[in-house]
Amino acid sequence: MALDGQFCTFFVRGLFLGLEVTCIQEVIRYQPLTVVPLTSPVIAGLMNLRGQIVTAIDLRHRLGLAPRDPGVRPINVVVRASDGPVSLLVDEIGDVIEVEEAAFERPPDTLGPEARGLIRGAYKLKGRLLLVLDAARTLDSDTEN
């Protein structure tokens, strides 16, 4: 279960989260989104990524966190998925960091229902915990609630 290697890190409402660098396509600043009516609230909208239409998922919604203040513009972490890129909206982007396998630990069983399955575990870093997201499950909006 433990993962060694480099992680792209970001912040969502104070949570320090990470995804393997290998599954990240790019990180770009906020892009105007086209809202899709009649769909799950997790879907923030569609954006134009250099001619490609990419679905954006609001990570706050996905993790069951309080919504962002209207004035704050999120950042797109574009993740490679099996059928094209998907963007995750995060509050702030962090560094790419290297972690050691020994520092990994599985999440406690008391994890909240929204985050269960999405968080694979944590790396015990100096002074804080890096929560590792399961990319595939995070992108799968069907499992939501």
Binding site: P32, L33, T34, V35, V36, P37, L38, T39, S40, I43, G45, L46, M47, N48, R50, G51, Q52, I53, V54, T55, I57, D83, G84, V86, L139, S141
Partner: protein, 776 residues
């Protein structure tokens, strides 16, 4: 041999070569994982295709070899025999023999007179579960040096001189002298002259380009367009003359480049239909049947990848229809049908999808026979069978290994086919549906998403969002202002309706349907109604604003949005923002304008369409000056407009209107037609009206307007057997909605609008149209 034939053969050669390359790879892969059923199935289908096609083309030897191979693969697929290394060797040898024959066919147009009985014997032995003696030492007759798949393989057989085949580049050395070519065949290349000649035949004016490369180009052009837009905006603010000039140049070139790149991916579906007349003819002959093939919508454009993807499935469906669907003339006569069967291929854009239909008026599907067959094959249990409805039973046809053909014929009936068709269609995100009625015919409907297809669409606004409506669903636009906006929309037990030419039109508010936060359009000063066609029903979509029509590039929605019923896709607008494309059928169902079960009712009509589809047309009906009625095909109409009377300017003998940034010539119907009565038109009130109604035609990129007294209705009507015309400018007379209606000659209008221009072509067309109408 006609050119037609050449095309068919050339296509067969190219296709088979690709198939053979794949088989090579697959056979080797099969040795690694002998239990992988999907590999066996793929090899089987490839060989099946080759066998089927060479059957039509009359390459009997090739057919014999591939048939023997197919038997082995069929047994493999059904797990009657297990794969062995010897089997792989023999099958690879078969691939090489087929390849050798293809090379010969390409060079000489003939499959040659090689003797392949030994190979066929080996294959037959494998099929029966035996293990033929094969190896470097060889069985009598065939000696093989089997190496890695792409090594040259030398084959020696006692009856023909040695032939060396070196895949993939075909090169023939010392082939036997080709037999005398059939008369009319292309110049025969002397095979012994060397490989250079054999390759000449492959040189063509087109080249193959990887679709992935086109995709990349497309995306790059998309980025270029956005960069262009930014530069154009920037130039507007900083007006330096030279810079503006360069920007305009950039603008033009970008647009042209964008169009060019898009075009590289689009092909009319007619490209793959071309070969069907021959396929149908040959097959009908082989089955002693008489079949008339009718094709509609050949020019419907599809993305290249989609064209490729539906080619094989369509071929299967067409073969099936002729082989299983349409009955022999005797049986047709016995059941009171005309002896010649009808096979209709139809393609059209609808609701943001490409629809392709294969409709035959043959024996139809027999639900009971399907049930029996499924029971016999153990596909369903008797308990399941008793609970299945007709539709569910029909769907069984799409399962692997299912065939209702009474006997395995040369052409079809091996149970390959419908499952392949479904697999291929579903792979590109399409759906296939099958309707039918015993004794009446079968209708197969394929719906393919418009991945990357370009369609004209109307852009409308709701709140901050824009939505694109495919033009194919669009009937007309109605704009209500002032009092009419307040009083025009009435409520029928809570359901908003509008009286459109006396008929009630159900209204749907887009903002409500999408649960948009935008203010409801109902309390606005003006009301824009987009009249849409969903199936056989019309409804009005009330939108906040109507923008322009645009050619849009349709992009599919990601998997997260696949389940959304009302959107068919998305597109990128000129400013780089994403706009959603409305799925009109989905919207109609979502808002319950169309009942869910509605499609059931259409099964029977679909079959009935076979007889009537050719002469029914959607017509625009309007009043003539002498209180008569006239109609034109709606397909010729670009737009319907209403102008204040004052905007029409007379320049010399011409009437002109400034229209959408161009000068549009207009023709007044009153002036154009020679009236039959000179009596004052008591009924003619239009002259007093401040507004004129204009039908706009699009012709060779320009617009031409026709001023009519009053637009009355849009109807679907048969145009069969018109009465000859009574005056010039009219093609004939038919009865529409109980009134005698003249069919206006659109070409005559266009000609009259601009007689001086070089529109000779439509002129002649008009003349011949008139002739035929008079002759009818």
């Amino acid at each position: 041999m006609s050119d037609d034939m050449d095309d068919v053969v050339r296509e067969f050669l190219g296709e088979s070569r690709e198939n053979l390359d794949q088989i090579d790879v697959d056979l080797v892969a099969l040795e690694q994982s002998p239990d992988d059923g999907s590999i066996i199935a793929r090899i089987f289908r490839a060989i099946h295709t080759i066998k089927g096609t060479c059957g039509f083309l009359g390459f009997t030897r090739l057919e014999g070899v591939s048939h023997a191979g197919e038997n082995v693969l069929s047994a493999l697929r059904d797990e009657e025999i297990a794969p062995t290394p010897v089997m792989t060797t023999v099958l690879l040898a078969m691939v090489d023999v087929i390849r050798e024959m293809l090379v010969r066919i390409e060079a000489t147009g003939d499959e040659g007179a090689g003797d392949y009985t030994v190979l066929i014997q080996q294959l037959t032995e494998l099929y029966r579960g035996g293990a033929p003696q094969v190896g470097p030492t060889g069985t009598p007759g065939v000696e093989m040096v089997v190496g890695p798949p792409h090594d040259a393989i030398v084959m020696v057989s006692p009856t023909s001189p040695p032939v060396i085949v070196a895949p993939p580049a075909p090169s023939i050395v010392a082939a036997p002298a080709p037999p005398a070519p059939p008369p009319g065949s292309p110049p025969t290349i002397d095979a012994s002259a060397g490989p250079a000649h054999a390759e000449v035949a492959q040189v063509e004016t087109s080249i193959r380009v990887d679709v992935a490369l086109l995709d990349k180009l497309m995306n790059l052009v998309g980025e270029l367009v956005l960069a262009r837009n930014q530069i154009v905006q920037f130039t507007g603010a900083n007006g330096d003359a030279t810079f503006i000039g360069a920007t305009q140049q950039l603008n033009l070139i970008t647009t042209e480049l964008q169009e060019g790149v898009m075009k590289t991916r689009m092909q009319p579906i007619g490209n793959i239909w071309q070969k069907f007349p021959r396929v149908v003819r040959d097959l009908a002959r082989a089955c002693d049947k008489r079949v008339e093939l009718v094709m509609e919508g050949e020019s419907t454009e599809l993305d290249k990848t989609l064209i490729e993807a539906i080619k094989d499935p369509l071929t299967h469906l067409v073969r099936n229809a002729v082989d299983h669907g349409i009955e022999t003339p005797e049986r047709r006569a016995a059941s009171g049908k005309p002896p010649v069967g009808r096979l209709l291929l139809r393609a059209f854009h609808e609701g943001g999808q490409v629809n392709v239909e294969v409709i035959d008026d043959g024996g139809g599907l027999d639900a009971e026979r399907i049930r029996d067959k499924a029971l016999e094959r153990g596909i369903i249990s008797p308990d399941q069978a008793s609970r299945m409805g007709e539709r569910e039973l029909f769907r069984l046809v799409f399962l692997p290994g299912f065939s209702t053909a009474a006997k395995v014929t040369n052409v079809s009936g091996r149970g390959v086919g419908m499952d392949v068709v479904r697999t291929n269609i579903e792979r590109i995100g399409g759906t296939i549906d099958l309707h039918g009625k015993r004794g009446v015919g079968t209708t197969i409907k394929i719906k393919i998403p418009l991945t990357l297809a370009i369609i004209p669409a109307l852009v409308v606004a709701s709140g901050d969002n824009r939505y694109a409506i495919p033009q194919a669903s669009l009937v007309e636009l109605v704009h209500l202002e002032g009092d009419r906006a307040r009083d025009g929309v009435e409520l029928l037990y809570g359901v908003p309706v509008y009286r459109l030419r006396g008929k009630l039109l159900t209204l749907v508010y887009l903002a409500d349907a999408l649960q948009d936060t935008a203010p409801s359009a109902s309390d606005a000063d003006d009301v824009s109604i987009v009249v849409l066609q969903a199936d056989d029903r019309q409804f009005g979509l009330v939108v906040q604003a109507v923008h322009d029509t645009e050619e849009i590039v349709v992009k599919p929605l990601g998997k997260h949005l696949k389940g959304t019923p009302v959107f068919a896709g998305a597109t990128i607008m000129g400013d780089g923002r994403v706009a959603l494309i409305l799925d009109i059928l989905g919207l109609a169902k979502h808002t319950r304008v169309l009942a869910e079960g509605h499609e059931r009712g259409r099964i029977d009509t679909a079959a009935a369409v076979v007889g009537a589809a050719d002469d029914r047309q959607t017509l625009l009906v309007f009043a003539t000056p002498d209180d008569g009625r006239m109609a034109i095909p709606l397909s010729r109409v670009a737009r319907l407009e209403e102008f204040p009377r004052g905007v029409v300017e007379r320049v010399g003998r011409e009437l002109l209107v400034q229209y959408r940034g161009e000068i549009m010539p207009v023709v007044d119907l009153n002036e154009m037609l020679v009236e039959r009565r000179v009596a004052p038109r008591a009924n003619h009130t239009a002259a007093a009206s401040p507004l004129i109604q204009v039908v706009v035609f699009s012709h060779h990129g320009a617009h031409v307007g026709l001023i009519v007294d009053q637009i009355l209705d849009i109807v679907e009507n048969s145009l069969a057997n018109p009465r000859p015309a009574g005056r010039p400018g009219v093609l004939g007379t038919v009865v529409i909605s109980g009134r005698v209606t003249e069919l206006l000659d659109v070409e005559a209008v266009l000609h009259r609008a601009q007689p001086a221009t070089a529109w000779n072509e439509p002129l002649q067309l008009a003349a011949s149209n008139e002739e035929s109408a008079h002759g009818a």
